[in-house]
Symmetry: C2
Subunit: 207 residues, 2 copies
């Protein structure tokens, strides 16, 4: 088995939602697994001295337009949530709690459930009641999840994941690392596919 693809995402990132819908299929076609990493974009933005694209004049309007256009280009349903962006630390802590206490597959299923709920139905993952309801509807122990997202243990688990991501060069989302090669953005899909096909001869940067 070739090394897994590291896939970093934030529950409040539209381009992460789009990429989350193709990363497994692309990886599987090339005999790869995917290691999902829920992170907080706020932490990576701070490390790289960046802000959200919607925090910049002019770029804000373009980005909101491009989120929906890029989702339609990928053939996906999409709705800009009424509240955007949102704080996603609770959703991310639940991801790591499931990953470590249940299984990576259950964590991935939660990632899909959370991203789809937020970006197609506007479910506010930053609201505790909405999050509990979504967890229950997704077949997850909502009381256990809430205990986890308020527990210093899982707070620390997420913090360490953010730190590790930054140390790995992650400054935005979605972010992919394939065989040590970093790819930023949903729009790097063609380069990732070429890399995975083994036909890429673009690994060694000429400077």
């Amino acid at each position: 088995m070739k090394p897994a693809i590291d896939f970093y995402f934030d529950f409040s990132s539209p381009y992460s939602y789009i990429a989350s819908e193709w990363v497994e299929a692309v990886a599987a076609r090339h005999g790869r697994a995917v290691q999902w990493h829920a992170i907080l974009l706020g932490a990576t933005f701070q490390a790289a001295e960046l802000k959200s694209p919607v925090s910049h004049p002019i770029k804000r309007e373009y980005s909101i337009r491009d989120f929906g256009r890029s989702a339609r280009f990928a053939g996906l349903p999409y709705l800009l949530p009424a509240k955007f962006p949102i704080a996603t630390q609770n959703a991310a802590r639940v991801f790591w709690w499931l990953n470590d206490s249940a299984s990576p597959e259950q964590a991935t299923a939660w990632a899909h459930a959370g991203l789809r709920a937020y970006f197609t139905r506007g479910v506010d993952l930053s609201d505790a009641a909405a999050l509990r309801a979504l967890l229950a509807a997704s077949g997850i122990d909502a009381a256990g999840a809430e205990a986890a997202w308020t527990d210093p243990l899982w707070k620390d688990r997420l913090k360490r994941e953010n730190d590790a991501a930054i140390a790995a060069g992650v400054f935005g989302a979605p972010f992919f690392v394939v065989d040590g090669e970093p790819f930023w953005g949903n729009d790097r899909r063609p380069q990732i596919e070429q890399w995975l096909s083994g036909q890429a001869d673009f690994s060694h940067t000429v400077m």
Copy 2:
């Protein structure tokens, strides 16, 4: 004839160089002309409160790697110039002088010559002597060009182009406007091609 594609570029933008090598062919396949616009990224960055990707920690290293990788993905020669980024107002003023005084075709030829010289041979377009030599080698009246780039008339022409670009929503480069639809980045090529093919049903942003 359908409306021309507006193509905004900066002589110091690697992704503009890559896009400059495909925009004419893609446009021609769909019966479109291209209206080239030399602009200064510094002006659009200021308006959108942005900085160059290489001014950000962590993102800097990724970007330098991605410039060369993306060029190779597009099948283009590329070399990160020893001096990068550079001030490009003189090269841009020459572009507008040629566009208005000679022809848009000669301005486009200069755009190609300047971008290729900088990104494949590291010719420093911010250096007056290097710029004069490149102009002469490109069959352009170097003395006339230098007179233009120091002339308030052409300084003002470029300033008005920057202002017009910002008013049109441009905040980075390359930037394309097709039938009023804005596309930012070399990596929006697949969406642009789909738009031009008339098969795109992603024009109306659902929010």
